[in-house]
C-alpha cells in the first residue's frame, strides 16, 4: 500500500507529511535546504555514469537504451509456458522472468503428497531436465536472458539451465541466467525456505563461486528487497536489509578466497516501486549511491562497472487493491513512472488482477504496454535523470541515504543479518510494522482510493469485478506431470542417476561446491525432488522463529 501519513489542520490543509521511512517533508524547499544538508554536486551526484552513480549508471541512460521489461511468466505445464514465452518475445519482451510452481520451489516432485493441488498452479512445474527441454525449446538462449524466480533450490535450477543449454548446443559461456537465489529474504518474507540458515547461505555461496568460475554471463544472485518490503518493511529498510543480506553472501564467498572485485559485479537487485512517488525516487537514487560507496570503501572494489547497482525496479503487488481492480492499471502506471524517473534499468509491473489470480495473457500485455508508453509516448527517454537538482528531490535523497545507513547499523549492532534472521528479530519487527500499517489503512489514517476513500458503495464491491477474468486451475497439469515423471523414471538410466546423486551427497556433506555435481545429476535426469532430497537429508530443515 505504502502511502505517507498526512496530518491535517482544522481547515483541512495538510500540516505535516511523514513518509514511511520516517522522513518529514516540508511544504517548500529551496537552495538553503541543500546548503543545510551539505549537498555537493561532485560528491553527492556526479555526472550520469560517474561515481557514485546517483543520477544514472550510464552517461546516456535511456537515450542509448530503453529499459528492459521482464514480465513474470510461467504456469501449468512446460508446454504452455513455452507458448507463453514465445508470445512474450514476439510482443517485444527481451528477457524472460520464469515463475515456478510451489512444489518446484520447495524441492518436491509433482507426485509428492505435498504437491497435491499445487502442480502448475502459480508457475510451471519442473521435475527434471525433460521439462526444461520442453519449456525452452526454440528460445534463443544466447540472446534471451532468463530470470529464474526460485530460491531454496536455485542451485538446482541454475544447474538445470546450464544442462538444457548444453543439450541445445549452446556453451555455458553464452548463456545468461539470473536465478533469484536470495534465501535470506525468503526467511524474512516470502516463506519458500527449506534448509537451516547457514546451509541456505552456503548454497548461495556455492552458486556465486561457480558462476565466477564457470558461467561468465550469468548473475548468480538477485537480492530482493522487493519481498522484504511486501512483508512490511519501510522503503529505507527494504534497501538496508537487502544490502545487509548482500554482505552476508559476500562474506561467505570471500571466505573461499575469492575477492569481492571478482563477483560483486554479478549481483543484481529487485526492488519494489509502490508507495509515495518521491520517496521511491529518492530511495532508488540513494541506493545506487550507497551501494557503490559501500563496495568501494568496505570491500575495496575499484572497477567502476562493478560498483553498479543493477537490477529490476518493479512489481508493486502490495499497492494493488482487490476493490475496483481496474484502478490498479492506473496505479501501476504511476508506480512505473517512479521507476522511470529513477532510471530503472529493468522493470516489470504487477498485473491489475494479481490480487485475485495469476496474470492472464490480457492483463500481462496491459502491463507491458503501460511500460512501453512511458518510453515511447510520454517522453521518459528525453533526458537523463530529469529530476536532478530539484531542491526537494536532492534533499530527500540525502535524507533517505541517512535513514538507510541507520537501519543497516541497527542490523550490524544485533550481530548481522544471519543472526537477526535466525533469532527472528527482523521478522518480528517487520510483522509488527505490517500490523500497524494495516491498522492505519483500516482506520483511514493511510488513504487508499477505492478502499477507504472515494470508495463506491461497499455492498457493490463484494463481487469479483467483471474486468477480472479468473485463471482456472487445471487438474490435468498434475496428471500430465505425474505421467511424464512416471515415464521418465522408467526410461532413464538408473545407474547414472544413482551415481550422480551419490556424488552430490558427498559434496553436500563436505564443503565441496555442489554445482558441478548438480549439473551431472540434471544431465542424468535426476529429479528436482531427488536432488533436493539429498540436501534435505544432509542439511535438515529450518525451524522458523516466532514473530510476535
Amino acid at each position: 500500500m505504502g502511502v505517507a501519513k498526512y496530518i491535517k489542520d482544522e481547515r483541512g490543509s495538510i500540516k505535516e507529511v511523514i513518509y514511511q521511512s520516517g522522513i518529514k517533508v516540508k511544504p517548500v524547499y529551496g537552495p538553503q535546504d541543500l546548503e543545510k544538508a551539505g549537498f555537493k554536486y561532485e560528491k553527492d551526484l556526479g555526472a550520469p555514469g560517474e561515481y557514485p552513480f546517483t543520477r544514472s549508471l550510464h552517461p546516456q541512460s535511456y537515450r542509448s537504451r530503453a529499459w528492459t521489461t521482464r514480465q513474470y511468466t510461467g504456469f501449468g505445464t512446460p508446454e504452455e509456458t513455452n507458448e507463453r514465452f514465445k508470445l512474450m518475445i514476439a510482443n517485444g519482451q527481451n528477457g524472460l522472468n520464469v515463475a515456478f510452481d510451489l512444489p518446484t520451489q520447495m524441492g518436491y516432485d509433482s507426485d509428492h503428497p505435498l504437491s497435491q493441488g499445487e502442480v502448475g498452479r502459480v508457475g510451471m512445474a519442473i521435475d527434471s531436465l525433460k521439462d526444461f527441454e520442453t519449456a525452452f525449446a526454440g528460445i534463443p538462449l544466447d540472446r534471451i536472458g532468463s530470470g529464474l524466480t526460485i530460491n531454496a533450490v536455485a542451485t538446482i535450477m541454475m544447474a538445470m539451465y546450464q544442462a538444457v543449454a548444453e543439450k541445445f548446443g549452446y556453451s555455458k559461456n553464452q548463456i545468461s541466467t539470473t536465478p533469484q537465489n536470495d534465501i535470506l529474504k525468503e526467511m524474512i518474507g516470502r516463506g519458500a525456505w527449506i534448509f537451516p540458515v547457514e546451509h541456505g547461505v552456503r548454497l548461495v555461496g556455492d552458486s556465486i563461486e561457480y558462476a565466477v568460475k564457470e558461467l561468465p554471463k550469468s548473475n548468480p544472485v538477485s537480492l530482493c528487497g522487493y519481498h522484504i518490503r511486501e512483508s512490511g518493511a519501510t522503503p529505507a529498510q527494504e534497501i538496508a536489509y537487502a544490502f545487509e543480506i548482500a554482505k552476508a553472501y559476500i562474506d561467505n564467498v570471500v571466505q573461499r578466497g575469492i575477492k569481492p572485485e571478482d563477483f560483486v559485479g554479478r549481483f543484481s537487485f529487485n526492488f519494489n516501486v509502490y508507495g509515495n512517488l518521491w520517496e521511491q525516487i529518492a530511495k532508488f537514487r540513494a541506493a545506487r549511491k550507497l551501494w557503490a560507496k559501500m563496495l568501494k570503501n568496505e570491500y575495496g572494489v575499484t572497477d567502476k562497472k562493478k560498483l553498479f547497482l543493477r537490477g529490476l525496479f518493479g512489481g508493486g503487488g502490495s499497492g494493488l487493491t482487490k476493490e475496483q481492480p481496474e484502478n490498479n492499471i492506473m496505479r501501476g502506471a504511476y508506480y512505473a513512472l517512479g521507476a522511470a524517473l529513477s532510471g530503472a534499468q529493468t522493470t516489470a509491473l504487477c498485473s491489475f488482477d494479481e490480487a485475485y489470480t495469476i496474470p492472464t495473457p490480457r492483463s500481462a500485455l496491459l502491463s507491458l504496454r503501460t511500460l512501453e508508453m512511458l518510453m515511447d509516448e510520454v517522453g521518459l527517454r528525453d533526458t537523463v535523470d530529469p529530476l536532478a537538482g530539484s531542491y526537494f528531490i536532492e534533499t530527500l535523497t540525502l535524507e533517505m541515504e541517512e535513514k538507510i545507513i541507520e537501519e543497516m547499523k541497527e542490523v550490524q549492532k544485533m550481530g548481522g543479518m544471519v543472526d537477526c534472521i535466525s533469532s527472528g528479530l527482523i521478522q518480528r519487527k517487520i510483522s509488527k510494522q505490517a500490523y500497524e500499517f494495516e491498522k492505519g489503512l483500516q482506520s483511514g489514517e493511510y488513504k487508499k482510493v477505492g478502499l477507504n476513500t472515494h470508495a463506491t458503495d461497499g455492498q457493490a464491491e463484494k463481487t469479483d469485478a467483471g474486468a477480472v477474468e479468473l485463471h482456472e486451475y487445471n487438474e490435468e497439469w498434475a496428471t500430465k506431470s505425474k505421467a511424464n515423471l512416471k515415464e521418465l523414471r522408467r526410461t532413464r538410466n538408473d545407474r547414472d542417476v544413482k551415481d550422480s546423486l551419490k556424488a552430490l551427497e558427498k559434496a553436500a556433506g563436505c564443503s565441496d561446491n555442489v554445482m558441478p555435481c548438480l549439473v551431472k545429476c540434471c544431465h542424468a535426469y535426476a529429479t528436482v525432488g531427488e536432488m533436493a532430497g539429498v540436501f534435505r537429508d544432509t542439511f535438515g530443515e529450518w525451524n522458523e522463529p516466532d514473530f510476535y
Binding site: 520447495m106 499445487e118 502459480v122 489470480t357 495469476i358
Partner: protein, 131 residues
C-alpha cells in the same frame, strides 16, 4: 456451543505457500481482540493442522491460503475433521479468495470466509457470530 471464557483459535498455513504476512497480522489482531491464538507456522500438512487443532482443543481453525488452492484444501480438511470427530471445531478460511468461491466454501461447511482486504473488525465480528 456454550460461551467460554476465552476463544482459542489455530491460525494455520497449509501447504507449500509461504506468504505469511496476512496470517501473522490476523494473529496479532485476534490477540488484541482477546483471543488465544496458536500459530502453526509455514508449510503445514493437513495432518499436522488436524493434530494441532486436536491437541490444543481449539474452537476455530483459521486457514490462510494464498496459492489459489483453497477449494481442494478446505474440502479435504473438512473430511479429515469429520473422520477424527473434530467437526465441532469451526473452520474459517482467509487469503486470496475470489468472491465467487465463497458460496462453494460455505456449502462445503466452512463457517466464515475472509478474503484478503477484510477488515479486522469484520473478522472479529465474523468470529463472534460463531459463538
Amino acid at each position: 456451543m456454550e460461551t467460554k471464557n476465552k476463544i482459542r483459535i489455530l491460525i494455520a498455513k497449509p501447504g507449500l505457500d509461504g506468504h505469511d504476512k496476512g496470517a501473522k497480522i490476523v494473529a496479532l489482531a485476534l490477540r488484541d481482540a482477546g483471543y488465544e491464538v496458536i500459530y502453526s507456522g509455514l508449510h503445514q500438512t493437513l495432518e499436522q493442522i488436524i493434530q494441532t487443532a486436536a491437541q490444543e482443543s481449539v474452537d476455530v481453525i483459521g486457514l490462510s491460503i494464498m496459492s489459489g488452492a483453497h477449494l481442494p484444501i478446505s474440502e479435504k480438511l473438512i473430511a479429515m475433521m469429520k473422520e477424527k470427530g473434530l467437526d465441532d471445531i469451526f473452520l474459517t478460511v482467509g487469503g486470496v479468495i475470489p468472491y465467487q468461491d465463497i458460496p462453494k466454501l460455505k456449502e462445503m461447511g466452512v463457517s466464515e470466509v475472509f478474503p484478503g482486504g477484510t477488515s479486522f473488525e469484520e473478522i472479529t465480528k465474523g468470529m463472534n457470530r460463531l459463538f
